[in-house]
Amino acid sequence: MTEKRRIPIQVPVLARVEGEGTLELHLRDGAIEDLRLRIFEPPRMFEKLLEGRDYTEVADMVARICGICPVAYQMSAVQAIESLFGAEPGPWVRDMRRVFYCGEWIQSHSLHIHMLAAPDFLGYTSITEMARNHADEVRRGLRLQALGNEIIRLLGARSVHPVGARIGGFHHAPARAQVDALREKLQAALPEAEALVRWTAALDLPAEEQEFTAVALRHPREYPMNEGRLVSNRGLDISVDQFATRFVEHQETHSTALHCLHDGKPYLVGPLARLNLNHDRLPPPVRALADSIGIEFPSRNMYHSIVARALEIVIAMRETIRLLKTYDEPPAPYVGVTPRAGTGYGCTEAPRGLLWHRYDIDASGVVRGARIVPPTSQNQARMEEDLRTSLRSLGVRQGEAALRRRGEMVIRNYDPCISCATHFLDLRVQRR
């Protein structure tokens, strides 16, 4: 038997990603024997915390799950509860929820592009190091992120853990003058977002194609965000209440985050999956921009995720401008609802991908059970699959530093939020 050589490397591999975890790589005779993304951040028990709470408390509680995508948590929750109660919040609320969500996409994608992905592709260890040579691009990223935050604040009162959303609509409708001022700012910044798309497309991204199943929402007319059916590039087409029939979460002993598989297999959610499945839903000016950058969608290159994110920033800015153009202050920013016993389902497109919620509620409106499936747990098996492919193609005989660098790049490309999924990263290589 070959002598076992174990080299534990204590490196914060995912220093720029939230949460605690390790990448364990077992190599035998120069081949990958086992690869595990171990996540050991303590579970946060949010679903249990929701039990026994009144339905009116849910939107504010789930907003606390994530500081980057609180809107997503709120939107999946209100959709689930309103569908159970048979509430119809009307077109004003529908439009403003889309605006609210656009704000989150803009801020979250700007953050990911500039803080996580771009430093990897340009060979820097951090945004701060990158800023010394790419100051204009970093400033542009910060301005776009600030605009996203401003949209969230418009409807949510604050950008982190906003408090404006409620079952039935919003607590408050912004004044027309405030809306007009923000719309003008977005219009002025649109060329910057379009320049960001061209900048990401010109990055020297690894040219590596992979086979993967992509899953996203699909809407009859719109680029999906708040509503739609669940579809895949392998023929899936189900309503959100059927999610659990085709997507099953299970516990892996090496992780405190649940792994979610689709028909027993890994799959991708997030910007690239959305764009691959919905490029025909791009608004015409964004379609023209996408057609001009020399990248064809659907794409099988996972690194095109950064370009997909930049394109989604442009979509979100144009959608916000469009929806705010005809803004009027409504008589009331919400509709009243009447609790009804049963189970409600909600699924929306968080910046990182599908976010599915299920609530069991009793006749008095108290939550009796909750299930939340965040995008990172859905992408976890896909990340492991991608790591196997990418490290094999890099060559596993490479030194630990090279393996670690590539491993980090692969994982960060998914924009994982480990804390939401339960939760990063030492690399441990075991060579035999």
Partner: protein, 166 residues
């Protein structure tokens, strides 16, 4: 012509973590600061601004950030650091981009304010709920007065003596 000072209270609604907000609210009522020309003193109340802190600096010559501090000192101890304080040893993440990381990014971009002060009070970790601990509540009036004095001095900072402290 004096300088523009941006005072930022950072925190959350919980326990001593809200002390930056309480101090900022108190300074918003300060007759001394309100007596200055409009725009000379801007006061913001923020929940974890992350890298967005930089976007507030655009218009300001000087920045004072007020936040809860955890250094091991006795609860209620008042602190004030200048911008040359040691680099943060905590890694900046997409979700956890602290005040020092924001300051380092500003330096890398060449966008640092002329003077940056981080003022805080040592928090009492044993506290819970929404109220300030006794130790922090007791230290608050003196703390607010000190920040007010500092802000006034910076706002009246003579153009000729302008220096880069960062």
């Amino acid at each position: 012509m004096g300088h523009r000072v941006h005072i930022v209270g950072v925190g959350s609604p919980f326990g001593d973590d809200r002390l930056g907000w309480v101090a900022a609210e108190s300074l918003q009522r300060s007759p001394v600061l309100n007596g200055l020309d409009p725009g000379r003193i801007v006061i913001s109340i923020l929940d974890r601004p992350g890298a967005m802190l930089l976007t507030l600096w655009d218009e300001a010559d000087h920045v004072i950030v007020m936040d809860a501090v955890r250094s091991g000192a006795a609860p209620g101890t008042r602190h004030c650091f200048t911008g040359d304080l040691a680099t943060s040893r905590l890694p900046a993440t997409s979700h956890g981009f602290g005040i020092l990381a924001a300051l380092e990014l500003a330096r890398a971009l060449g966008d640092s304010p002329h003077r940056f002060l981080l003022c805080g009070i040592e928090m009492d970790d044993s506290g819970s709920g929404l109220a300030l601990s006794e130790a922090v509540a007791e230290a608050m009036p003196v703390f607010v007065h000190e920040v007010e004095k500092e802000a006034l001095a910076l706002a009246n900072f003579a153009q000729s003596s302008e220096t880069k402290d960062l």
